[in-house]
Subunit: 459 residues, 2 copies
């Protein structure tokens, strides 16, 4: 194993040059004019994988191709070796607006320990770190304790629309013990992180219909209900003064935070005043009894995403609007089921709705929350690998949003995802002047090298 | 007096022909191409006034001219004679959409007792009725018990923008005991009406500011307040389940409805099921303890005219919106003062606003409510004239909206307006196939003839 680690150290500057080569491809999946750049980038990844000793191929999809690269499989062994899929993506966000970049987005520039360029952090640097680790195994003749399959797609920034079908087609080859993804973040360079949970979601649209047309508020106002007021009163009842959602049964299935998890969250660097200033709010507000970190990642929420009713232009228009509408998303946590929450919300809204208006509820997309037990063997293995690589105690994170591909992997491959992201909060992912920290790059390679040992060690 | 009434009857068909001549002018004040038609119409009114014995002149304004016509003033009398101003307007609403008219809007058509044509009811037929009454006095040599000045403007349908300045300039000539306006409605042909009160208004815009930009509801949702939810909760508290506005002090100055007024309202024809169907609402809703007629005309209201926040397009967008806004108008009744209500609302909203959002309140236009005592001598005189003309007991109405010119007359001439409108609910004012009922025309002339007697009789 020491040979693997030494190899990574000895080849660091070459690895950085290779990352520069990778970043030079303007593989912007959202922009049709970059289609050939995406293909060229994918071909570069295939060749790179082949050069380091992987069996790599370019798989055509309806969209941009997916690179699949496998470690050479050991022949005729007795016990089944563990198999892990490493997921990454070679496509990047659009670089616009160009004028905010200090150097051209596709001409990588190194300043101190930062490598600037679109895609450096999201996700080229992070998936290359895993390739560098396996290269070290293969080039030093060190036996990998497991089989690995890299799946590096080209449509992550545009919704991964080909991935689900691809996973279904290749399911037999891809069945595995876990999926490893480095595409999330860590709070500081001293806080390597395992993201072990994601929130789910349920989307709704609620419309209250009043009069058949906008009415003159002077002539009719007072004798009919105002749908905008009715909507305010209806929605206003759905959250109490303690920030709790008041829909009966809403919290019934919520998995409580364990003492271990809360202790882990308390270790995270967090300054309320800075956070408040960053968001620009006069004061924070959230569910009483939970810290802001817990509120935004581990607790369900009821958010109004939009309100529409009546007149919205300049000045005033004296009407009782015919209807009022709210767009709503509910963030779910383990083990809330979207279908049940949708049912509870419908029932409650219908019960609360006054007879003076007619309610119409449309439900939109739903996604379950996601959780890998942070005390389970795989999560603990990932934490050990992070600690060995970074030399400090890793933290446990929950992500407040959802990552749809994680649900796809779970559904199709029946395996959990270990999210060991290497991005720092100031990496400017999706923004001008994206960069990747070269220490994260180096330590990410070490983490990956250790990870296969730790994961294969068994429970 | 009998000679006056006989004259009106004998000259009925000529009067109808004159109304047809008047309606033929396409005096559409909103449309610049009709500027010369407005002038021609105004000149026709001047000539008509002169022909019946009035001293008439065309007064230029920045907009369309105003016709002023005076009865010949009696010379050197001892006691001051009463002076009344009769207001009307010769301009009309645009006739569009033409294809919904059964006959061309400016080619008057008589069918049964209806005269169809744009402006027939609003307001040519109604102001001509008053001119016909004074013609009967002058042509029969019957002494008028008062002086009259007709003010017939050409910009009523576009906001009467020249009237205020005109009234100020001519104030000395126009000072009077009351202004008579026939430009409102009566519920049925059997219910001649005096409209004795109007509601006032105060307009606001309330914006709650949360984060400095729309936030990702997954990453941040739960740890900051949602301005759309905060707005719903804030506004939702401003009306209770009995339909009462909860702003402290809101009702303090409200003049209670007298037993006499409530009894008058109870006489009005009203069928709840028909009204509900007409408005298209599943059920009526209003302040408990008052009938729908009282709610919409004699009670103050708090109406949300529009709501705006976050994402309003198709599908969903998972954000905590940066801000949420409501446009609000409060309808006021005698003796609520707009300035005081604005102050109370500001205070209350600021008190209710949680620290997690910043509130911004803009106040817009305000207008006081208007009331002529229905038991006062002028109102009673008008009611007697209506009864004499129509042969049935008149009703008392309050109008839920405001009529800005009434406030102008009150402010500049310090005189009350008596609103003795002759329009029926099915007259299609502002709509295709506008018509005027020829019985209302004839009885309106009788009413006007009686009115000068009744008003001049004194208290």
């Amino acid at each position: 194993m020491q040979r693997v680690l030494d190899y990574l150290k000895q080849n660091e500057s070459r690895s950085i040059q290779e990352l520069c080569d990778y970043v030079r491809f303007p593989s912007v999946s959202a922009q049709p004019q970059h289609r050939s750049d995406l293909r060229a980038c994918a071909e570069w990844v295939v060749k790179h994988c082949q050069a380091i000793g992987l069996q790599a191929e370019l798989c055509a999809t309806k969209g941009h191709p997916i690179v699949v690269a496998r470690t050479p499989r050991a022949k005729a062994q007795g016990a089944r070796r563990p198999h892990f899929v490493v997921y990454g993506h070679y496509d990047v966000q659009p670089p616009e607006p160009f004028d905010l970049w200090k150097s051209p987005p596709f001409e990588p520039r190194i300043e101190g320990r930062s490598l600037f360029g679109r895609g450096a952090s999201d996700n080229k640097g992070q998936n290359l770190a895993h390739l560098k680790a396996v290269e070290a195994y293969l080039k030093t003749g060190t036996e990998l304790p497991c089989d690995l399959t890299f799946v590096i797609e080209g449509e992550e920034e545009v919704g991964s629309s080909s991935l689900e079908e691809f996973l279904k087609e290749r399911r037999a080859d891809l069945l595995c013990d876990a999926i490893i993804i480095s595409d999330t973040g860590m709070p500081t360079p001293k806080h390597p992180a395992l993201t072990y949970a994601l929130r789910g979601i349920a989307a709704f649209q609620v419309t209250l219909h009043g009069p058949s047309r906008d009415l003159h508020s002077g002539i009719f106002g007072g004798s009919v209900d105002n749908p905008a007021m009715a909507l305010c009163q209806l929605l206003g009842k759905l959250r109490d003064k303690n920030g709790r959602v008041t829909i009966p049964g809403f919290y019934d299935e919520v998995a409580p935070l364990s003492a271990y998890e809360r202790k882990q969250f308390a270790r995270l660097p967090f300054k309320e005043a800075e956070y408040r200033k960053f968001l620009g709010v006069p004061a924070l507000f959230g569910e009483r009894g939970f810290t802001p970190i817990e509120q935004r990642s581990a607790r369900p929420t009821f958010e109004i995403n939009g309100l529409t009713s009546g007149y919205q232009g300049e000045g005033s228009k004296t009407i009782v609007p015919a209807w009022a509408r709210a767009k709503i998303t509910v963030r779910l946590v383990p083990n809330q089921k979207p279908a049940r929450i949708i049912r509870l919300l419908r029932q409650h809204l219908k019960k609360l709705c006054p007879p003076s208006v007619r309610i119409e509820i449309k439900s939109g997309h739903g996604a379950e929350a996601y959780l890998v037990s942070p005390t389970g063997p795989q999560a603990q293995a990932a934490l050990r690998a992070l600690k060995l690589a970074f030399g400090c105690e890793p933290v446990l994170l929950r992500e407040g949003g959802s990552i749809p591909i994680v649900n796809d992997f779970k559904k199709i491959l029946r395996a959990d995802a270990l999210l060991v992201g290497l991005a720092l909060p100031d990496d400017n992912a999706h923004s001008p002047n994206e960069k990747f920290d070269l220490d994260c790059f180096a330590k990410g390679q070490l983490m990956s090298a250790h990870l296969w040992q730790e994961l294969s060690r068994g429970g």
